[in-house]
Symmetry: C2
Subunit: 288 residues, 2 copies
């Protein structure tokens, strides 16, 4: 049996009881280590589970799936994923390989950013399409996420922005030389995402384009959601550029039309200025 087990968000104790029982019963346990991270590392999980973990980087999952699935028809193998196994990143490919090899699989779900963000007070069914914000480079500055956010917003829907993670990336130089030397991991912060958004807004304003999201749009910065030191910060987009929400992972929400109950919840964690802004939002201007 192949178990795909969600670890939830936070630390080692965020695994479900069912998930923990499965981990303990497996002969090999892989930890997916390139799409997300917990606030604790591999060693803390190993100590908590009483099991050695095999780190599964992108290469292993995408090219070494046979190794992961080896003997899984006669023994139990666990594949651990931060959040839910089918959260922001799906592991459909691994599942399909198991199915094709006649290996039964079982998913043990857990919270992921896709549903846990509800604790900021915005209602999950008022969210539109989720977008990804990638690190810009000097030559690659995609803006399509801005258009998707505006489209959601025009339809009265909030947008969850998943922020880029670069783990085990090679510099172009090292890649061309075939050197397996990796850059330090990078995790986009709420501040960096807000900055990229504002650069798009400023560029489009100069060009006279229509702006569905501006520097004054109410946004929510989320950091380490589900961990004991999680931070939720509500502010106008321009306020979030200068915020420091601490270590990874961060996510950003761009709000749309707000229900009065959502406004009340957002106020709980609002910046002073944004608080004033939110106070001015009354049911006639912002709600349906």
């Amino acid at each position: 049996m192949l178990y795909l087990i969600g670890l939830g968000l936070g630390d080692a104790t965020d695994i479900t009881v069912k998930g923990l029982q499965a981990v303990k019963s497996c002969s090999r346990v892989y930890l997916e280590a390139y799409t997300s991270i917990l606030t604790v590392g591999k060693e803390a999980l190993e100590e908590y589970y009483g099991k050695q973990l095999i780190l599964a980087d992108r290469d292993l999952v995408e090219q070494g799936a046979d190794e992961i699935l080896k003997d899984a028809d006669v023994t139990d193998v666990a594949f651990l994923v931060v959040g839910d196994p089918f959260g922001a990143t799906t592991h459909s490919d691994l599942v399909l390989r198991a199915v094709n090899a006649g290996i039964p699989y079982k998913v043990i779900h857990n919270a992921s950013i896709m549903n846990a963000l509800g604790c900021c007070g915005l209602q999950l069914y008022n969210f539109g399409e989720t977008v990804s914000v990638v690190f810009w480079t000097e030559t690659w500055r995609p803006e399509s996420f801005y258009d998707k956010i505006c489209k959601n917003r025009a339809a009265g829907l909030h947008t969850l922005c998943l922020l880029d993670i670069k783990v085990k990336e090679q510099s172009i130089e090292n890649m061309m030389r075939g050197k397996k030397i990796y850059e330090p991991p990078r995790f986009m912060t709420v501040s960096q995402a807000a900055d990229q958004l504002i650069q798009i807004i400023q560029r489009r304003r100069k060009e006279g384009g229509e702006l569905g999201v501006t520097e004054d749009t109410v946004c929510v910065g989320l950091a380490r959601l589900g961990a004991d030191d999680q931070v939720i910060r509500t502010g106008m987009l321009r306020q979030l550029v200068t915020c420091d929400l601490g270590g990874p992972l961060h996510s950003l929400v761009v709000t749309a039309r707000l229900h009065p109950l959502e406004v009340d919840m957002l106020r709980v964690n609002a910046e002073p200025d944004a608080l004033q802004h939110l106070r001015m939002i009354d049911s006639s201007t912002y709600t349906s």
Copy 2:
């Protein structure tokens, strides 16, 4: 401290280790019992936790919140919610009352239908606005969910349809007589939801309206997601009208443009006819 603890989907062991530790430490434990259910009842949870649970129906949560929060500034109180506390139904109101009373609160997240549905193979970030499908009555047959599904679909986005739950409802007669007699609980099935959708399609076809979703649209029926006996059934909408996916809870997904990897995953649980239909979907017709 007020703990809002998600129980996940399935049975008693789907609680997180962190959640279980919190439950055991609390002096009073409420079980929210009107927006969702597990496959096991209150007694099984009580036995598993070694704690008595107080059932919290809608009346208690909406009108008796003071009772729930009583002494929560000096003792620990848990409020258990199937899925995630901020999943399909938010409990913002209870949180705001706690905040206003100076009672600290902590959320312990878990899987909910909002993210666990990813296991059917459809990618979560390709979903648009979530809709609710309510039981029609003779005089009340809302169709707005159909329009929202079509709007999502036109934008290339899948739609999760949450299906109606009627727990502790009074008949109009008993309500008017002030009799606290409740009807047996009702949970909308995938079959019933598909039937209502098809009635809308047929009515609109007669009127010559444009149809964004038809009887041939590929849909996914989900039953008891996360439980050992979960069922995922992919078929055309008309096939799901006659399907019997067993006991509650059910949800329905209406698909839009499909990515080849999504098609491959849907095939794993497809009806024979739908399988053929999915085989015909090639990347030129269905994908972006």
